[in-house]
Symmetry: C2
Subunit: 342 residues, 2 copies
């Protein structure tokens, strides 16, 4: 059994080397060093570095019942949108002495449950859930009963709670108005098979706007697939069936998959068909032609989520916060202006 | 202070509801349920689900001095190579009741140190370091003194230790031999400004092969940049200065950046210049033309790393393992055959 245990450097080892008491070491390392000589303080800090002494966190967390940890559940760490979102969370967490426990659920319910339980076992102080949780009330029940606050970024909470919203309905409207202005009336949409609330709103804003302009989009032209490059690629054939002049991909990953499918079908973007995406991941500027899309502030969504959950951890009774972040349309080269067609 | 604490469901709450003793609940939840009635066992499990009771992990880990955690440090979670590598680690960790603590260091030394300390504080049982650690002997010192085994995937260990190698020297050779066979003699290389050991070997295999064939590549044609899409994009102008017929990008992300720069320069791949990459990330099949590259088994590298570190945690005295994983060249459409040029 010995070999399976981690043998950490102990505070007693450090005290012995420094020839002072454990209490002295503890006080110096906790910043209460004004009662000791500069020489002693310096010596203790030097030895900490040299010996690699790190205070045992679990002893503290057992007393405080806090792991200074935020559990973060995202659907797909392979999507650049989420890696920027995670970086935003990381930066705020670090500034506050917390660390994010990052989990990619890959839309797998078994993994979701596993990670949820593991976060609680490890005394997570709060959770940020950006994953398409299959059963929100189950999550709500288990987290509430353990007194762990949580934030859902892409779904409606079971009861009133802090929310972040990036104006998805408006984003859908912007793209629809833009396409209509460019003369597009026959369009297809490629969306997720199991859309989260934010995706439903994005789609509704798009469909409502086309309908209001007298160009309703039939259900047959809303194709459901996986929210990935491969999903977009696989959906291409079906999206092209009725020869749309433009296709709205519900996120940029799907758009990149459509680019591949369209290229393989021997068609050209935007000459033969126009494409718009959503998110503004960095790849939109690398693919040819550059993708017209809606910019979401992914990093800022991460920092905001982290700030909200940390504030909620500190004060469970504070007023509920609903933060809305701005989005904007980024016009690039993937949409043809049909008003000037030959 | 009360509000800052997490109020977990306690085993006593569950015992009270189940009308049995705490010992009974504990034994049933630990699988020692053969001495109790089926009805009691069923009731306890049902209440665990309903009440959301999760055994307190920190109490256990304080005794065992183990967080059942593997700290994982990667340079860049935005690179799809690393997201697949992380998924490999995740899958093995989960099968063994561990979780990975995932950190993206972004080649930032301050973040590296922070995460290293936080991993130790949280009683990580082992660490997998795939990041370009600036000072390996510092890491070695601090982890060794805390009795935490670690695995470096892209760098040489300070002392003999478990290693994973994906034949980087051979990968460089394969690409060079392929380009030479296609008639390329004047090539440029775009690599990392602070290359890890694996990148150095990859580059050496490439340069040695060209030299052996009588086409030495001068230092001026080895351009150093960041190992990202943006780094490749920024390096394009310099890479094109002496009109190479082909460019070797040390990873696929750099290659994607070169694609953008070359397109903006009004040149065509592979007609005007050929490109080869390294890693075989999924994007290589989405960009046009599809990228010729070396396939690295990223997921398998993750599972192997996790298996090695778990075995080392279980038995610190086991024989040192050196695992070598196979790679292969994936021929796509980004290299022109100059033997058939008009």
């Amino acid at each position: 059994m010995e070999s399976a245990m981690t043998k950490k450097v102990a505070i007693t080892d450090l005290a012995k080397r420094a020839k002072v008491s454990v209490t002295t070491v503890s006080q110096i390392l906790n910043g209460k060093d004004d009662r000791f000589s500069d020489k002693t303080v310096k010596r203790v800090h030097e030895l900490q570095q040299e010996m690699g002494y790190v205070p045992d966190f679990n002893a503290q967390s057992l007393i405080r019942r806090s792991g200074r940890t935020i559990g973060v559940l995202v659907p797909n760490i392979n999507n650049p949108f989420f890696s920027h979102f995670l970086r935003g969370i990381e930066s705020v967490a670090m500034d506050n002495g917390y660390i994010p426990l990052i989990f990619g659920s890959n839309n797998n319910q078994k993994l979701e449950s596993y990670y949820l339980f593991e976060s609680i076992r490890r005394a997570a102080d709060g959770m940020i859930i950006a994953s398409a949780i299959s059963d929100v009330s189950y999550i709500d029940n288990i987290l509430n009963q353990n007194g762990i606050p949580y934030l859902l970024t892409d779904q409606a909470p079971v009861v009133a709670g802090d929310t972040i919203d990036a104006n998805n309905y408006q984003g859908g409207q912007l793209l629809a108005a833009y396409l209509i202005k460019k003369g597009h009336q026959r369009v297809a949409v490629v969306t997720d098979r199991q859309p989260t609330l934010n995706l439903k709103q994005r789609l509704a804003g798009f469909l409502d706007t086309f309908k209001q302009h007298g160009f309703p989009i039939s259900a047959a032209h809303v194709i459901e697939t996986e929210l990935t490059k491969l999903g977009g690629y696989h959906a291409t054939e079906q999206a092209l069936v009725d020869k749309p002049t433009a296709i709205f991909a519900l996120n940029d990953e799907i758009a990149i998959g459509l680019y591949r499918g369209i290229h393989e079908a021997g068609l050209e973007i935007p000459k033969d068909v126009s494409i718009v995406g959503y998110d503004d991941i960095d790849l939109t500027e690398y693919i040819v032609p550059n993708l017209t899309t809606v910019h979401q502030p992914s990093f800022e969504m991460g920092t905001t989520a982290a700030k909200l959950i940390l504030a909620r951890i500190q004060d469970k009774d504070r007023a509920i916060q609903n933060v809305s972040l701005p989005i904007n349309l980024v016009e690039r080269e993937s949409v043809r202006d049909l008003n000037f067609r030959n």
